[in-house]
Structures are given as C-alpha cells and as structure tokens.
Amino acid sequence: MRYKKVSGEDLENLRRIVGEDYVSTDEDELAANAIDAFPGEFHMPEAVVWPGNAHEVARVLAYANENRIPVTIRAAGTSLSGCVPLYGGIVLNITRMNRVKEIAERDMLAVVEPGVIYERLNEQLSRYGLFFPPDPGSAVACTVGGMVANNASGMRAVKYGVTRDYVLALEMALPSGKLVKLGARVFKTSIGPDLTRLMVGSEGALGVFTEITLRLRPLPRKMVTALALFDKVTDATDAVYEIVRTGLDPAAIEFLSRKTIQAVTQFRDLNIPDADALLIIELHGRDEHVLEHMRDVERILERHGAFHIKSAEEEGERKRIWEARKGAYPSLLRISPSPLTGDIIVPISKITDMVAKSYEIAERYGVDMGMVGHIGDGNVHHTWFADRREPGSWERASKANEEIVRYAIELGGAASAEHGIGIEKKKFMRLQHGEAYELMLQLKRLFDPNNILNPGIMFDLEDVMAVELP
C-alpha cells in the first residue's frame, strides 16, 4: 500500500479545516503522539491535527481519504495494546472534543463528545446520583471514545457489564466524509441490525465517533467489601465459581496471585500474610440486605478454605481493602521495568484450569509472572516480567503470553477481554475468529476502501489488502 506523504499544501488545507493552532508538525509534538501506553516503538506521524467538532472530523477524514493520507485516531493514548501511526501520516487527536453535552436525568442517559475523560464524566454525573459504570483502571486518564473503541471495562463488569452495554447511540464520521447517526435514545430497539453494537470495539478501524449517547445507572447506596486469603489458588478459583453461581450478584470479584500479593505487600505498606491467592469481593445494593448477602459470601469463602476473611462497610476501611487491588499493577511495575500485560478471558468454569496452566507456562519459559484480574467474569491480566533492555527478555515474555492466549482460545475464551487488539494482538485474529476474520476484513474494506483509518491496527494491512469484496 502506498500512502501519500503530508505536503505543505496538505498542511495548509488541514489548517483551513481546523484552524491555524490546531495542526502541528513540531517535532516534540510528533514525538508525544508517536507512542502510547503499550510498550512498543516510537512511530512518528507527519502531523498532528486536533479537530474541534464533528464536522471538522468529517472534513479531515474526507481530505485524507481523497489524498490517501493515513489517519491514526488518538484519544488519551492509554491503550495497552498499541495504537500508533505505523505508516506515518496524521494523528487525528480528539482530546479537544471533551464536552459533556447533555445529562438527561429522567431518561438516565448522557450525551458526550468522545474526548471526555471517564472520571470527569462520572464526577459530573455523581451530582445527579448517577454513574457510567465500567470503571477501567485508567479511569483518571482514558476517554469515553477510547473506551467505546476498545469496549473497555473494569472491576465492576461482573455486575454492571462493559462499555458495550451502555452505548445507546453514536454519531460517527466515516472516511468518505459522511456523518452518520446510529441507534436511538432508548434502552432497547428492534429495528434491524444493530450497527451501534458493531461499532463498539471497532478500535477506530471503521470510523471516528464524534458523539456518544450513554445509558446511566443510579449510584449504589450501600456497599460492602470483603478480602479473603487462600493457601491454594485453586480453592480461591473454586470459591469464585460458587459465588457467581449462587446469584449473590457480586459487583466485583478481583483476584491477586502470590507474586502480586508479595509485590503489593512490599511496595504498598500493606500487611498481608503470605498467601497463594487473594480475593476481593464487593456487593452493592439499596439497603442492609447486602450485609446479609455478604454473610453468605463469607460462608462460601470459609467453606473453600479461606484462612483469613475481613469485610468492611465503612468507606475508609473499604478503601484500605481496595488498596491491595489498586496497588497491584503499580507494585508489579516496580519489579518489572517493561512488563507485558495480558488480557485473556475464559469461561468461569475453566478459571481453575487456566490458572494452573499459567504457572506451568511461566515455569517452562523461566519467566516471572504476577496475575491480577477481574476473575468474577474469567478475565485475568498476566503481568509477564520483562526488561526491554535485556536481550531475549521481552521475547521470552511474549512467547509465554502467546501460549496462554492460545490456551484461553482453546478453552472457548478470548485473546482480549477489554484492552483491545491494537498492534500487539493482531496475530491472534485469525485463530480467534476463523472464517469470520474474512468477514471482518471485508467490513473494513466496505467502510474504509482506501485503508486510511488506523492502518495496521487490529487488522494486518496485508490481510486487508488481500481480501476481496464479495
């Protein structure tokens, strides 16, 4: 695929669309847009463009499409799977489009521009007693648009679901320069194929979201949190299965493996006894009933051999429990300079097998590994310890990760539960989807016939070029 280099004339034309201040070729600015939170290489764009509204986005896309200039869409750049301008061209940076346009309290929905930061939105919503639940670990930094593109989720997915469950309607700019509206301001529709849901998780391969309508939930009034420690990781994973199965409707079930517990204890000043597994369980509700339900949870934990259980209702104490989980990734980072973070998910009945396999793989490759995860829905993040500066270290970690991904797919699970495919997991697309991968490539061709949007992200460029439209 041959793309056109961005010329002086192109820059002039782009400036005419978005305004003088909002196109930059400054080399420091290019560097700042050349990499994200995925530990990859720098890939410099030729220009960065910041549109201020949907029409400007559409016009920039039309221009790039006409002139065969690659466009890489960038929001907060917190992607852990990698979305960088592999083929140069322009970075379309949407961070200026960060308004909350409407909070419709009675309809329990919000209309936002894609660049609004998740936590900022929830701060505003909290005044109405409402929230947008997915709560990724990157809540203070990531944008709603980035979350929709990656179908992000977080600690509360086991009860509240993922981003996809909250997107009611989208406005999208297509490479052709068209602005289309998908979905409606209602919770359910039966009006033909659901293009809105199709777009969630499309990682910017099909178009650019310019407006997002989100369903909201009332903030829970009563919350109770428990921490439990186990001598045997398999006892913990069995307990998880039973808690989910019993209809206790947990709002979170989080898991830390031995290595992770050690890291947190070391770096977070937390006094946690040595254990093979740690679980944090949270229940949400309207009233005191949640406390009763927590007693049931505790009984399950005990029955499965938890040697230490502590539950808390008071906010400060709950926070201290959560500190173990929130400090997990940061603490692992202290041990491993450039860790490879996995994102597999397996059916909950297979969690125990998957955990056992993980240890076996880690030992075989001689790679240290900490696990932490949203285990209530089968999603575990492996942190494979690596140091890019040490020859062979990253490659070993990648191989180990690759093996657990293959195993997860074999078990009926998936290569990524919430972080997206990006650059890193493209290699699993065929394995994951089989025949359906061709369909996806065709879809890409249909929406983006000149391959200008996010080239090389999620789909290999060669694969897209090779596919024939029916």
């Binding site: 909002y22 930059s24 400054d26 080399e27 420091d28 600015e29 560097a31 700042a32 847009n33 050349a34 990499i35 994200d36 939170a37 530990p39 290489e41 720098f42 410099m44 960065v48 910041w50 907060a76 750049g77 917190t78 940076n93 961070t95 200026r96 930061i117 936590e119 990157s138 203070v140 930094a141 770096f267 990734y329 940061p330 980072l333 202290r334 300079p337 500066r389």
Partner: protein, 409 residues
C-alpha cells in the same frame, strides 16, 4: 546524536527513571499545567515531557537538545502533585530539575545569570534588607523597585513583592521541650511577626524555642532551577547545623511547607546520609504540633465558628500537612466550609517570572473563581498567599496567623 548521549550521561540514574515511565497519563490528571489552554497538545503535558525525554534518551529520534525543548521542560514547576498518582513511582519533578542541571552543564543555561545569582543568594540579600526594613520596603514597593526586579530578575512588574518583617527573637531554652526553628526566607525575613507570635504561644505552653544561627534558605528554588550542586551545598550546611540540635534533644520546627518538604523529603535524597535522615525524623511543623496540643487538651482555642476556606497548597499536599491543617482549624473552633486542592499557579517563584506570569494566572483561574466570595482564606504556603493576595486583592492567612488573629487562647 551526540547531545542525546551526553544528556543520558548527565542524567545518571534519572535516565532509567525516564525509561520506566509507562506513559499512562495519570500525572496529567493532577498536573496543574493541564489547565493551560495549550494543554490539548501532548507536548505541553506532564506525560508529554516524559515521552519527549524517552524519545531522546532511547535514541528513537535524532534531535539536538535545545532551548526549545528546555522551554517545554520549564512548564513543570515542581508542585509534586503527580508523585501521588504515578503508578510507576517516577520522580517526575526531580527528573525535570536534573534535565535543567544537565542543560546548563551542556551550555544551555535555563535561567538568566542574574536570576540564578539572586536565587542562590536570596537569603543573604533578604537578611541584609531586613536590617533596614524601612528602606527595603520603600524600595520594593516603589515603581523603581518593581522595574528593577523585572529588568534584573525577570519578575513580572505586576507582582507585589513581599514586605520585610524580620523575625526578632530571644532564645528561651530553659525548658525540657526544646525546639529549633528552621524558617526559610519567609519565616525569617518576611513574616517574622507571625512566627514570633507562634513562639510566644509555645513558650507560654512550656516550650523553649531557639533560632539556630547560620541557617540558610531551604533551597527548593535552587532545585527547580536545576542548580543541584548549590542545592546540595545548602542542604549540607543546614543539615550540619540542625543535626547538632537534634543530637542535643531538640525537635526541628517549621512553619513553611517548603522548609518542611526540604527537611523531610529532599535533603535525605540529595545527601543520602544519616544526619539528613535524623533531621528528617525529628522535624515537626507548627500545624502538627499545635494540632497535637489541642487534641491533648493542653491548648484551648476558640475560633468562634468563623467560616474559613482552606486552600491546600501543592507542598502542603505533597507533605500531607493538609490533613493536620484542616484538623487544626476544626479543632481550633473554626468552621472549614471548603477546601480547595486546586493549584493557584504560582508554584514558588515560577509564576512570578515575567515569562510565566500569564500562564500561571491561567493555571490558577479555576481556583480564583472558587475563592472570589470567600471571606477568610487560609493557606500555608508563603508564595501562594503572596500570589493570591495580589490577584484576589484579599488577605490570605497562614493557619497559625489565623489562630493568632481570631482565636481566644
């Protein structure tokens, strides 16, 4: 690139700290510079600064280290808010200081010679000026004084310079509970009246307070300008003096969050020796001490329910002194009707400089809006008070000053 290799070498251990940054952008969420209108540009944000340094250090692009780059680095004014949220524990402001220090070693001085000399010697100048406060105050308030400050030091002429009110104190050490005061410039030369009021209160409660002679400024502006060698020398001198007091059973008392921060966090890191750590362990701020005394029932204060708004300065946040301040104000019978953790933009000397003055106002604008209607505003940081006073045209009090002024003790 030659300058990239040189930068790497000059940064020493900080080079690998730069590389450890995972580019999550959490620091942007608290960094006051995210409020400036250009912050839509990645290069104008905290993460951007780290990423740009990464790109140079890892040799990912070929560029010469330049003044233009230094201007971006210069946007970090060392408030240290980011340290609380960075998941990887990257010493962000410290990295920026060492980049500035490296720059000047590479022949790219970051601040004018005059400003550097001024910052190096500010305490000496202030000490001299305090001997003739009448004259010094007339000069600093005059148009001439402001023009000179702008011409020579680059301090914006709209800035109202602080008056000289030196601390005058007779030592009173015939007591079991002995305190040695480490004042930094404001406590010793600009707000001596408040500090001596505090001493009288403490002496009534049986404390003996001494002001060690020969102590120098805390030196945080030196760090911020990248004058690391000078900062280290100043730290060494202060630790030498103060550790002698600690040996003799004194606690070190501060009133300035910058002085507290220097003793508690910066000196132990800069010097890495036992004396610095000993001084750190034995340092207590006046707000902590008063709060303890009130809680133990040894001091009764009655603020009569007066409503105050507390502005938590960057350094009060970074040192966790804000908790003690809010506690103290409440325990002293004030009603804390609001706390504002937002940054006022001044960040020590940074906002006072002509080249930053307008940016600093933009950074602080959200805070100024919040504070417009507040009647009594309290903040611990000397420069925040100076700055907000001049922008809001209101009195802003040190917590101790609020107690001395409004409480029946």
């Amino acid at each position: 690139m030659q300058s990239a290799a040189q930068l790497r070498e000059l940064l020493g251990g900080y080079a690998s700290e730069v590389e450890r940054c995972i580019r999550c952008g959490f620091c942007n969420s608290v960094c006051p510079t995210s409020n400036i209108p250009q912050a839509y540009m990645g290069s104008r944000t905290s993460r951007g600064r780290l990423v740009i340094l990464q790109s140079i250090i890892t040799g990912s692009r070929e560029i010469e280290f330049s003044n233009k780059l230094l201007d971006l680095i210069d946007l970090c004014f060392g408030c240290r808010r980011c340290l609380e949220v960075c998941p990887a524990g990257i010493p962000i402001p410290q990295i920026m200081w060492s980049v500035r220090s490296a720059a000047s070693k590479m022949g790219l001085p970051h601040a004018s010679w005059m400003l550097r000399s001024f910052v190096k010697n500010y305490d000496k100048l202030a000490s001299l000026a305090s001997r003739f406060p009448g004259l010094a105050n007339t000069l600093t308030r005059s148009k001439l004084g402001r023009v000179l400050a702008e011409r020579l030091l680059g301090i914006d002429k709209k800035v109202e310079l602080p008056a000289y009110i030196p601390l005058r104190h007779e030592s009173s050490i015939n007591s079991q509970q002995r305190l040695a005061y480490f004042g930094d410039v404001f406590g010793l030369y600009h707000e001596g009246n408040v500090v001596s009021g505090l001493f009288s209160l403490l002496e009534r409660l049986g404390y003996g307070v001494e002001v060690p002679r020969g102590q120098r400024q805390a030196g945080i502006p030196l760090l911020e300008l990248g004058l690391l060698d000078e900062a280290r020398a100043t730290a060494r001198r202060n630790v030498e003096i103060l550790s002698g007091y600690v040996e003799r059973g004194y606690k070190i008392l501060t009133t300035s969050p910058a002085a507290y921060l220097a003793l508690k966090q910066d000196y132990p890191k800069l010097l890495d020796d036992t004396n610095a750590r000993k001084v750190a362990e034995n340092t207590i701020d006046a707000v902590q001490l008063l709060n303890e005394l009130v809680k133990r029932g040894e001091l009764e204060l009655d603020g009569g329910g007066r409503e105050v708004v507390y502005h938590s300065s960057c350094f009060s946040q970074a040192t966790s002194l804000s908790g003690a301040i809010v506690g103290l104000l409440n325990n002293a019978g004030f009603k804390v009707v609001g706390t504002t953790p937002r940054c006022c933009g001044v960040a020590g000397m940074w906002g006072l400089l002509r080249e930053h003055y307008e940016t600093a106002k933009q950074v602080g604008s959200a805070l100024f809006n919040e504070l417009r209607d507040a009647e009594t505003i309290v903040s611990q940081s000397e420069t925040c008070r100076l700055w907000m006073r001049s922008i809001l045209g209101k009195e802003i009090l040190h917590p101790v000053e609020a107690i001395l002024k409004y409480c029946k003790a």
